[in-house]
């Protein structure tokens, strides 16, 4: 009966129409999730030590007497892969929110002062307390991320005329430049530029279960917030006036959006350092594929970001074992050709 229904439909429209936007987005979302599962499993299996699939299974089922490989899987690779997926998803989703809210294709979460604040605190820690532990480093970078974001938001808030997306972007640009200049000056002066550059390039190699436990609640809150306002971001991306005309409370929406971006980026940066490009590129890639509806764009961006970062992490381990290539580099090398191809051939685009 179903088949006959389809046949009837096709008979009514002899020239096949393109699938609707929602169908396309749903396909992309499901495809992305399948791809995520595949890359996730691959990233458990491959690395400096190749592990057989049965070992992975046993590391779950076997409760006592873990072999070395099972321990690697359980205590290193699983948290690392989960961390990569979360960080990728968070950065991509907050990039999408930023671009929609500010209506600027160059906006990215790194403009919120988060990464640059974290870098500055990191370089100070490297210079003045080189023996700091992993946990205190993570805490430091979270504090730094908060300081950077507070600066940007505070400047926009206390200036005359109040918060507007364009002002937020400009303040972010200035604060980012200022903090980065301080960071570079200290790094050059005290000769820690090289240590810092590994952190700059970002990486999920240090992610442990502790990080994951801290990441998950923050990530959940941030993503739920973002999804809640995705409809309103659609309206905002048409312009402030239009959004008001459509009955949106724009100030409330913007505040929630900023809060969501802060939570998501702050968590991601404190776990994985300044992983660049994902927040900028993934939302564009997603927009090329499924169009500019933020109700679909946000979840799809999150899934694609997760896929890209898990894949990039795998690549970072495989390229030059046992050394690790900085993950930001691998992300760019995988993402950019795809991005450039889509920007020439896809139909979707930024509404401007």
């Amino acid at each position: 009966m179903f088949i006959s229904f389809i046949a009837k439909q096709q008979a009514q429209r002899p020239n096949r129409r393109k699938p609707t936007r929602a169908a396309r987005a749903l396909t992309a979302l499901i495809g992305g999730l399948i791809l995520l599962v595949v890359t996730f499993i691959l990233s458990l299996l491959y690395g400096a030590v190749h592990v057989h699939f049965s070992t992975v299974w046993q590391s779950f089922t076997n409760d006592q007497m873990l072999t070395a490989n099972q321990q690697i899987i359980r205590n290193i690779r699983i948290p690392r892969a989960i961390g990569a997926a979360l960080v990728g998803a968070l950065l991509a989703a907050s990039g999408a929110v930023m671009q929609g809210m500010t209506r600027n294709p160059l906006a990215s979460p790194s403009l919120m002062g988060v990464s640059s604040g974290a870098s500055l605190v990191m370089v100070c820690t490297l210079v003045f307390a080189p023996q700091a532990s992993v946990l205190s480093l993570m805490l430091c970078s979270f504090v730094g991320a908060g300081i950077g974001a507070l600066l940007v938001f505070g400047i926009a808030l206390f200036s005359r005329g109040g918060v507007s997306p364009i002002k937020l972007v400009l303040a972010g640009m200035a604060v980012t430049a200022f903090l980065n200049a301080c960071t570079s000056t200290i790094a050059i002066r005290f000769n820690v530029a090289r240590d810092l550059s590994f952190w700059y390039a970002g990486g999920v190699s240090g992610v442990q279960w502790l990080h994951v436990q801290l990441l998950i609640p923050v990530a959940a809150i941030g993503i739920i917030l973002a999804l809640m306002i995705s409809r309103s971001i659609n309206a905002l991306s048409l312009g402030e006036e239009t959004a008001k005309g459509l009955g949106e409370r724009t100030l409330l929406v913007k505040t929630i959006a900023i809060l969501a971006v802060l939570l998501m980026t702050g968590a991601a940066v404190s776990a994985a350092g300044a992983v660049g490009f994902i927040g900028l590129i993934v939302p564009h890639i997603t927009r090329f594929l499924i169009g500019g509806d933020y109700r679909w764009l946000l979840p799809c961006s999150a899934v694609f970001g997760a896929v890209l970062l898990v894949g990039a992490d795998l690549g970072a381990r495989m390229l030059n074992p046992p050394f690790e290539t900085p993950i930001g580099v691998v992300t760019a090398l995988i993402g950019v050709p795809f991005f450039l191809y889509l920007s020439r051939h896809a139909a979707g685009g930024m509404r401007r």
Binding site: S159, R160, L170, A177, S197, H284, A332, F339, S343, R352
Partner: protein, 336 residues
């Protein structure tokens, strides 16, 4: 009329600031030279040692700083006008990353050779930077071309190519030994390399021809800002004009980067500063941006040379450190 008065006073103010900074800058540095001796040298009666320091070392460097400050700022103003995007800077056309990759690659290739960065190889560095910048800009333009170039496609392909180039820079940098790494970091942060009269002569024609040309054509840029449909309705050949402006911007920024390193932030912030002061009309914006850029870079270079003398702080960092707070102050004051 009031606007005209304001423009005039701002112009005069900046010329004065440049003049004062020139004098201060001439007599500070590793060797202190009293203002009176500076004057003596300038009228040709100083001691040979002072004359050597001033004429051969300090003056060319300051002239270069003025030129590349102006060039970078105008290039930024043009690019923000063409793309109608407040976040655009010469970096978006790959100027920084292209030049950066070329220079980092160059440093990497000559590493290990004794006195690698003296003499001929030091002289070749600006050329490799110029070459890299031009190549990156061409690549971005070619990728954005599809029956003409729209601002959005230009920005998008710029994002992509920049990301790839930066990744390559990181790869090469991490393979360097610490000394070369530091040198590459300093170059990427922006520092003035070419401090000889030949470099001044090499940069001079670009600035003298292109900045007036940009000012002369500024009204077209005003019309382009109305949108493609409106502009072509008003009789502007949109694609041709846009390509021309892009060409000017790339040439200015390329010439600046080749002797000044990665100082794209100057191109980002100066047009914003000037716009806050005198508004959006490009025929005023462009020449004032040139002045302001020259002024800011000269101050930054003087500070960078003297704060931790004899060590130098890369001038690009000083530009950020003094430009950003001023910009934030302006943001505070003004409604957008």
């Amino acid at each position: 009329m009031i606007a005209k008065k304001r423009v005039l006073s701002v112009t005069l103010g900046m010329v004065c600031v440049i003049g004062v900074t020139l004098i201060i800058s001439l007599n500070t540095g590793y060797l202190r030279i009293a203002p009176i001796d500076v004057l003596r040298v300038l009228i040709g009666k100083g001691s040979p040692q002072d004359a050597l320091v001033l004429i051969q070392f300090r003056l060319p460097r300051m002239v270069i700083a003025l030129f590349i400050g102006a060039g970078m700022a105008v290039s930024g103003a043009l690019l923000q006008g063409i793309t109608q995007n407040d976040l655009a800077d010469p970096g978006i056309l790959g100027i920084n990353s292209g030049a950066g990759l070329a220079v980092v690659f160059y440093i990497y290739m000559v590493q290990g050779q004794a006195s690698a960065l003296s003499g001929l190889s030091l002289f070749l560095m600006p050329f490799s930077a110029l070459f890299g910048a031009a190549l990156a800009a061409l690549l971005i333009y070619a990728l954005a071309w599809q029956h003409g170039v729209t601002p959005l496609r230009l920005i998008l392909s710029g994002i992509g190519v920049n990301a790839a180039l930066m990744a390559l820079i990181t790869i090469i940098q991490l393979r360097m030994d610490p000394k070369d790494f530091m040198q590459a970091t300093i170059w990427l942060s922006g520092s003035i390399w070419g401090t000889d009269w030949p470099y001044v002569l090499a940069v001079l024609p670009w600035m003298l021809i292109l900045i007036p040309l940009a000012t002369f054509k500024a009204r077209t840029l005003n019309i382009l800002a109305l949108g493609d449909a409106m502009a072509s309705g008003l009789g502007v050949a949109v694609t041709r004009e846009r390509t021309l402006f892009l060409g000017i911007a790339v040439a200015l920024a390329g010439a600046s980067v080749s002797v000044g390193g990665g100082i794209a932030f100057l191109g980002l912030i100066v047009p914003h500063l000037v716009r806050r002061i005198i508004g959006r009309r490009h025929e005023i914006l462009i020449p004032l941006s040139a002045l302001m850029g020259a002024c800011l870079l000269l101050i930054a270079d003087t500070l960078g040379r003297t704060i931790w003398a004899p060590a130098e702080v890369p001038v690009g960092l000083v530009v950020s450190a003094i430009g950003a707070p001023y910009f934030i102050y302006l943001l505070f004051r003004e409604k957008i």
